[in-house]
Symmetry: none
Subunit: 207 residues, 2 copies
């Protein structure tokens, strides 16, 4: 995912540890001491490498100006995907609205991201407009599971059903029609499986 060398991973680990133990990131000199470097510049070079790889962000001119990037910072956050740009991978940066502090392991299997649900086509399955759907990223789906699918660049949430060569994407709402994909005229890709839902709502019956 981030493709760090062992050494870089160790430096990143030290930053994480310092943050956890002292509440502040380390200075170059502290990194130097911890790893036994003879020059603060060794630490500086590592930090720049980590920044280049997106593991950390550096803020110039400020002491301890090191911040862990969101994915690295807290393994207990999930990116929230809003409107998915046509053609872009779901997890592309431009689709990420924000990160929420929710342990991915709260769900089984583990959630990889949250997807904001648009429309009420799955309402009978208890999935409502504006819900945050917890999604496990996988290409595989079994009949009856609710999946995040991409049909001709359009991302949709539906119940999956395969019959021989034909895949049906079934809404859970009588007002909607099933999507039938025969594999030749349209392209279909399974992006993930729904593993949970989060709703922020006071359930009030008055607007």
């Amino acid at each position: 995912m981030l493709d760090l060398t062992d050494r870089q991973a160790a430096i990143l680990g030290f930053i994480r540890d310092t943050l956890a133990e002292r509440g502040i990131p380390p200075t170059r000199a502290e990194i130097m001491d911890h790893f036994g470097f003879a020059s603060p510049n060794a630490a500086q070079a590592h930090l720049r490498a980590l920044a280049r790889r997106g593991a950390i962000e550096l803020s110039a001119g400020h002491s301890r100006g090191i911040r862990l990037s969101p994915q690295v910072a807290d393994p207990d956050t999930l990116p929230l995907i809003g409107r998915v740009a046509a053609g872009a991978p779901i997890l592309a940066v431009e689709n990420i609205e924000t990160h929420h502090r929710i342990a991915p392991a709260l769900f089984r299997p583990r959630a990889d991201y949250l997807l904001r649900v648009c429309g009420d086509s799955m309402i009978d399955a208890g999935i409502r407009d504006d819900d945050l759907l917890a999604v496990h990223a996988t290409r595989e789906a079994a009949n009856g599971q609710v999946v995040v699918a991409r049909v001709d660049d359009e991302v949709t949430v539906k119940r999956f059903r395969r019959r021989g060569n034909i895949v049906e994407l079934l809404p859970a709402n009588p007002a909607y029609e099933p999507i039938v994909v025969d594999g030749s005229s349209q392209s279909l890709a399974i992006e993930g499986r729904a593993v949970g839902v989060i709703r922020r709502d006071d359930f009030s019956d008055r607007p």
Copy 2:
């Protein structure tokens, strides 16, 4: 709780904000700039005052050596309440099944605990058996809101409606009857308001 002056609370708030926005605590000079002080010593004096009151901890000789004390740093877990023992306060230790890593501030107003839902009496409001209901602990409820209420030692989740002296607790499922409390024969206590729901489920239509 901590008995801070307004000014001290403002300083503490700025430290918290800086931490949230930049990932590092502010320096004395940054505090000075933000509040328009003419001297970094004003900030220094405030920090010492906050440390004396236990709101923060200072580590001498280190830049940005400010850390929020545990009580001040907002906790990022919510207790999960399972079966509520008769007579015990909801948040009593014996009711807490476990803690889940979910930011309380993900919900508005802030969630104080999660309650495992038993039964499907609120299914038409999208609250299902075994869901985790995010609850904001409060004694107050407005008509139409979904509340956690205690009627004669029994804890239940229902929609709240008051008509004069009579309170109705309405299920969202035609198979159930409303609970009517007239305030004399039965005791009623509002424990909190529903502010969200978390479901761990793959939504599969097969058991």
